[in-house]
């Protein structure tokens, strides 16, 4: 039996309705997706902070070694009445080992950056999952779909509805394809956040150990036992110090103190990172309208921004 005109229209109507059925049962609400987007944005620029801290320590111990060279006296007369070259030789070795120290810590910093780049990838992925344009191919498919349907409506109108043509709805179908996609996106988003949570917690715990228990004590130790001790050795041995030495010591003392602040900020941001992610998991378990923004995400955003400001100050 051939379908009637009414059946034909009903078919188109159901087809148009199809994507909206998904909307009413979408995995997450707009407010929940918005918070995920805010988390992704807030966490940007965090992954390179621990590496920067390790790099900063390398520069500080390099500078300390360079300063230690100036405490020595060169060109002394040896027992045979010649020039004693041993101090100059040792000094050059010290300068060369200062280079190695810096490179060792730079390498460690880069390895940390590489290991933590996954956080950046994760953040980028979340950003793409909350975006409307995360897959060009899908947009093209939706567009093709819309055009195809508009063409069908055109033909239908041409045959049956010349007097009162049906409105073209290709645009709606295009966005309806998007709505279906959005439903799938939201569903993926919900699952990835839940699944990634234990790993995010593990990474943040390790970062806190690096910043608070490993590097911070070394920066604290630096002021007295490195640059402070070395300055006094130079002053006592040389009997006087020039302004460039004083400024050099001051700059390194400043850098060490800023690095302590950075270590604290990295650790605090790691705590906010963990909590913000846990809150995201908690707030995306069921589909609900979030009445207010997740506070931990705002705290994370502030802390990461503050930490990056300190990092830039150290590197200037």
């Amino acid at each position: 039996m051939r379908p009637t005109k009414l059946q034909n229209r009903a078919f188109i109507f159901i087809f148009l309705l199809f994507p909206f059925l998904f909307t009413c049962c979408a995995a997450l609400t707009a407010s929940q997706i918005k918070e995920v987007g805010k988390f992704a944005k807030a966490s940007q620029g965090y992954s390179e902070l621990p590496g920067a801290l390790a790099g900063s320590y390398g520069v500080l111990i390099r500078n300390n070694k360079l300063l230690s060279v100036t405490r020595e006296e060169f060109g002394q007369i040896d027992k045979q009445g010649g020039i004693d070259t041993s101090e100059a030789n040792d000094a050059l070795e010290t300068i060369q080992s200062a280079y190695k120290d810096e490179m060792d810590f730079t390498a460690v910093g880069k390895q940390m950056d590489a290991a933590l780049s996954v956080l950046q990838i994760y953040s980028d992925l979340l950003t793409s999952l909350v975006s409307d344009n995360f897959a060009e191919a899908l947009s093209e498919s939706a567009e093709k779909l819309g055009k195809s349907l508009d063409k069908a409506i055109d033909e239908y109108n041409d045959k049956y509805k010349k007097d009162a043509p049906l409105k073209k709805v290709g645009g709606i179908i295009g966005s309806a394809g998007g709505l279906y996609r959005r439903h799938k996106q939201a569903s993926i988003l919900k699952n990835i956040i839940k699944e990634a949570d234990p790993l995010v917690i593990g990474l943040m715990d390790e970062i806190q150990i690096i910043a608070s228990e490993k590097l911070k004590p070394s920066f604290v130790n630096y002021e007295d036992n490195y640059i402070g001790k070395e300055f006094k050795s130079v002053a006592n041995n040389k009997k006087q110090v020039d302004i460039s030495t004083v400024v050099f010591v001051y700059d390194n003392l400043y850098k060490a103190r800023q690095s302590i602040i950075l270590a604290d900020r990295i650790s605090k941001a790691a705590e906010h990172y963990k909590n913000a992610h846990m809150d995201l998991v908690k707030n995306t378990r069921t589909r609900k309208k979030l009445k207010e923004a997740i506070k931990q995400i705002e705290a994370l955003s502030k802390e990461v921004k503050a930490a990056n400001e300190v990092k830039n100050d150290i590197n200037k």
Binding site: Y57, D104, M112, I121, S128, R181, N221
Partner: protein, 109 residues
């Protein structure tokens, strides 16, 4: 060596460095005494550096292990996103089917 043991060793080296620094602050030391203390301080700094590098390298191993797992999740999710194209294709096929029906009715109408 466990993490805590290394951290303790690092702490002890820092304490030894404190002790050298405090001794150097005292007046009355001869130049040779100062020289020996400076050398001792240099050696302690080398040990300090090696301990810290080992500590950080251990951390990198930890980080890499966890990162690897997170990367695997990311990869799986990207695959899921690619699979969404199939959904769009199916919907497109349905649209074509409607198109064909409309054409057929048009021909009959």
């Amino acid at each position: 060596m466990a993490n805590t043991e290394r951290i303790n060793a690092l702490k002890q080296v820092h304490e030894a460095e404190d002790s050298v620094t405090n001794t150097l602050k005292k007046p009355g030391l001869t130049a040779p005494q100062r020289r020996i203390l400076d050398e001792l301080s240099d050696i302690l700094k080398e040990i300090d550096k090696l301990l810290l590098l080992n500590e950080l390298n251990d951390s990198i191993e930890e980080l890499e292990g966890k990162s690897k797992k997170l990367k695997a999740i990311n990869k799986r999710i990207k695959k899921q996103i690619e699979n969404l194209e199939e959904v769009a294709d199916k919907v497109e096929k349905a649209a074509k089917a409607i198109d064909a029906i409309v054409k057929a009715f048009g021909a009959l109408g």
